[in-house]
């Protein structure tokens, strides 16, 4: 008989690899260690307790466009930020920066995000907006689609500039989708009846599943908005306003 035991199902709701970090303690600890004053201030702002209902958590959706995908070499060329709560995404509290990367703007990335050499030529370095960026993020949980990019790139970019990296609590909408669609390795049944196409957890396809409208991709601000809306939809369909933030963050 092929069936999944109750235990197996339970585990698959929170896939292997998902552990809910204790962000309040971690940030307090980092605040002790941080040397850069604006970074220290960022950590000191802390974050809500792990059991806080998601509806009460101050959030900010963030998206980066980059010169490539290798955080150790590539740089951020634009940042989109949109403040939000579970209930409302506030465009009046949104920001969009074009930045001058220290790495070269490669032609193939220009094709993707449409930011050109001449545009970045006159743009500021990340250092110039660092404080403002950290202030906006302070006290909030950051909402991203694929934390691998935003987390690693900001960490690396800061290391290059102030000699210190950064950690911050994230809700990753891609990871929330992965929990639903990547929860089991294909088993015998799938192999027998399978060839079921792998469900895409990319941002546009994920949005489609929640009947969110199509947005043109690769503008950091639009992508941040896109991701913000996806989180609202995910919580509306799969969680509840009372879901503790620790279920979602990582």
């Amino acid at each position: 008989m092929f069936y999944l035991s109750k235990k197996q199902l339970k585990e698959e709701e929170l896939p292997a690899g998902h552990r809910s970090p204790d962000w309040p303690s971690r940030l307090a600890q980092l605040a002790e260690q941080a040397r850069n004053p604006s970074l220290k201030a960022f950590y000191e702002a802390g974050v809500v307790a792990a059991n806080t209902p998601i509806s009460e958590v101050p959030l900010v959706a963030m998206d980066f466009e980059t010169t490539g995908i290798d955080a150790s070499r590539d740089e951020i060329v634009s940042i989109g930020l949109v403040s939000m709560s579970l209930e409302r995404i506030r465009m009046s509290e949104s920001q969009h920066w074009i930045l001058k990367p220290r790495a070269d703007l490669r032609d193939e990335s220009v094709v993707i995000h449409g930011i050109t050499h001449s545009e970045v030529e006159s743009a500021p370095d990340l250092t110039r907006i660092r404080e403002q960026l950290l202030e906006t993020l302070a006290g909030r949980v950051v909402v991203v689609h694929h934390k691998g990019i935003e987390r690693k790139f900001l960490d690396a970019a800061l290391k290059r500039r102030i000699g210190e990296g950064i950690e911050f609590p994230c809700i990753d909408t891609m990871e929330l989708e992965a929990r639903l669609h990547r929860r089991k390795p294909s088993g015998l049944i799938d192999k027998l009846f399978g060839q079921k196409p792998r469900v895409s957890i990319r941002l546009p396809e994920s949005r489609e599943r929640y009947h969110l409208p199509h947005y043109p991709a690769h503008n950091a601000l639009t992508d941040a908005l896109s991701c913000a809306e996806l989180l609202q939809a995910q919580v509306a369909h799969r969680f509840s306003p009372d879901t503790p933030v620790s279920t979602l963050w990582s």
Binding site: M91, S92, P213, L225, A228, A236
Partner: protein, 626 residues
């Protein structure tokens, strides 16, 4: 750095009323929007909840409910809601539920109000427009009925601000600023020759100053008479609020002077009254005039029906409903004639298109056929011109049929050669019918003497009405014949004892409220109206003239009015019930569908009709009149 919300702006730009906003206003809206996602089934707004934003649907669909829980409207992408609440006390008037997963853009109240005040087109659109809505939205208000039945006088806030014809544009502008008004009436100086005819010479509005003076670069010393609108659409002080609004909409004017005995007593602006008005029929009329083909017009049939249903549910009275349906019918004809002229070219000689019967009386309901005719210029030459008018008549008649107005079984349509004649032939018809009535011409008189000009030389229709009134009033034999014919259809009094039903048709257990109720009432009121020389067409208006002429026994006129209202409303409500139940509406009611209350009142109403018929028999005996 000010973020640019390209995606949001691109979306907004696609939909009215945003498409007419300047780019910077659009940018400001986009930069201040809140976004919310609602899963299908979520209650988005609850009744009386505080509302702090105007909702625009980015994707998905919602349902709009009435306070009582009835489904009222469905909106989809580009649709919007919450404006009724924002324009009143920031409380939700219509609960909203997400029908599908819905993403909404929320425009904060201060931004919405800013747009509303700053951009006239935006305000007009939000108030009157419905383009993106699957069905129209309407303000369901507790006092809607009262306001809809109120005369326009109740809305006059102040005496009109006026200036004399000799003034300059600058003086006019100063006066408008001083008085804080957006429109100014231009009057003839008292004592002048024109003032004896009508003291009102014209009107100017803020918009005129902008468009006709500043934009044209005219001198501020230009005489105000040079830029004013001279031929004014106006309303009488005792007209219904509702009629005034329809007039404004139909003629596309935003300011309407109100006259009392020829003297202006006030000016009302569309925006003044729109918030007091249920927007029902206005939407339909505005859509009729925007339709560009018969096919497009024919898609509005359902809207006409929902408009009818809504008015019934909102407790509109029979006069309002009859008028609204008549205005809608009239608008269909007008638009069809415009389209016909576009297709066939301008008419070879002037003409007037007539509506007859219930539409002319403004007592049209939902089940109605088309009675119409053409009055042509006396220079009409059948050999040369008739081919054109036949095509015109055919176009309109087929168009009306496509829009749900069935062909007249009695061929009383402009497609019939006999009813497509020059003015002098019509006069001759009416002479014959009045001087030498025969059973057939009497039937004609019943239909044709309720006539209304809907297009072209409508003054000919007024002329014919007066012609009939003058001639019939003094012809006692004709009146006696009309009276006798008015008795042919009797009220079903036996109905309440042994259930006398209509023997014909499928519904053996039913009674025809038109044939046995409203029609004989309209018939006998017509006889009285002809006898007192009334040129009114609506039965209630005719009755008022009859009451004022004092030819009825004390109190009988009022009784008749109540009877007509009650029977009409039973008929109307019954049709609305049929529509709601998805059945084909008709004029028949089944006794078991009547409440005790209705049954008792109907009995009284039919008694009144019966005694009024007895009275008419006595009143118009040929020998007694002289």
């Amino acid at each position: 750095m000010q973020a640019e919300h390209l995606e949001i702006m691109d979306f907004l730009r696609r939909y009215p009323p945003f498409n007419e906003l300047p780019e910077e206003a659009l940018g400001r809206v986009a930069a201040n929007i809140d976004v919310s996602y609602f899963k299908a089934g979520t209650q988005i707004l609850e009744f009386d909840q505080e509302v702090d934003a105007w909702y625009v649907i980015r994707s998905g669909a919602v349902e709009v409910y009435r306070r009582n829980g009835d489904l009222y409207n469905r909106l989809s992408e580009g649709g919007y809601f919450g404006e009724f609440g924002l324009l009143r006390e920031n409380r939700v008037r219509f609960p909203i539920v997400a029908l599908e997963d819905t993403l909404a853009y929320l425009i904060p109240a201060p931004i919405f109000k800013e747009l509303f005040e700053q951009y006239e087109n935006f305000a007009d659109f939000v108030e009157v427009e419905d383009r993106s809505r699957l069905r129209q939205t309407v303000a369901r208000r507790e006092d809607a009925n009262e306001l809809l039945t109120s005369s326009i006088e109740v809305l006059i806030g102040r005496a009109p601000v006026t200036i004399e014809t000799g003034s300059t544009v600058r003086e006019a502008a100063i006066r408008m600023s001083d008085e804080g008004v957006s429109s100014l009436l231009i009057v003839h100086p008292s004592g002048s020759d024109q003032a004896n005819v009508s003291c009102m010479a014209g009107m100017i509005t803020d918009r005129d100053l902008r468009n006709r003076v500043v934009a044209k670069g005219l001198s501020y010393d230009t005489p105000v008479t040079q830029i004013m609108t001279a031929e004014l659409i106006h309303a009488e002080h005792n007209q219904l609020v509702f009629e005034a609004m329809l007039a404004m909409l139909q003629h596309n004017v935003h300011h309407l002077p109100i006259l009392k005995h020829g003297t202006p007593v006030g000016v009302i602006a569309l925006s003044d009254i729109i918030r007091y008005e249920s927007q029902n029929s206005l939407f339909v009329v505005s859509r009729i005039f925007r339709a560009n083909s018969v096919e497009e017009l024919s898609t509005l049939e359902g809207e006409v029906r929902s408009c009818f249903s809504r008015m019934v549910h909102e407790d509109a009275n029979s006069k309002m409903i009859g008028r609204a349906m008549a205005v809608i019918g009239r608008s269909f004809k007008q638009r069809l004639l415009e389209l016909a002229e576009e297709k066939l070219g301008p008419p070879p000689v002037p003409y007037c298109f007539l509506a007859l019967g219930s539409m002319a009386r403004q007592e049209q309901l939902i089940v109605t056929d088309q009675d119409n005719a053409l009055v042509l210029d006396n220079s009409f030459d059948p050999m040369k011109h008739d081919a054109y008018f036949l095509q015109l008549a055919q176009f309109v008649s087929d168009g009306l049929a496509a829009c749900g107005y069935t062909y007249c079984k009695g061929e009383i349509m402009a497609t019939t050669p006999k009813w497509r004649q020059p003015l002098r032939v019509w006069e001759r018809y009416f002479d014959e019918w009045i001087d030498e009535p025969t059973p057939q011409t009497l039937l004609n008189s019943f239909i044709f003497f309720d006539l209304d000009g809907v297009w072209g030389k409508t003054e000919w229709a007024d002329h014919l009405s007066r012609y009939i009134a003058n001639k019939a009033q003094h012809n006692s034999r004709f009146l006696a014949c009309m009276a006798r014919n008015a008795l042919l259809r009797t009220p079903p009094l036996g109905f309440f004892k042994e259930f006398v039903m209509e023997p014909s048709g499928q519904q053996t257990q039913s009674i025809d409220m038109k044939r046995r109720g409203t029609a004989p009432l309209a018939d006998l009121i017509r006889v009285h109206a002809l006898a007192v020389g009334s040129v009114a067409r609506n039965s209630f208006d005719r009755l008022q003239d009859v009451i004022e002429a004092d030819i009825l026994p004390q109190g009988r006129g009022q009784d008749l009015r109540d009877a007509l209202e009650f029977i009409s409303m039973v008929r109307i409500r019954h049709q609305a019930l049929d529509l709601d139940a998805g059945q084909k509406p008709d004029n028949k009611i089944e006794p078991e569908n009547l409440s005790d209350f209705e049954r008792k009142n109907l009995k009284d109403a039919f008694q009144i009709l019966s005694s009024a018929q007895k009275f008419i028999k006595y009143r118009y005996q040929a020998s007694r009149i002289g």
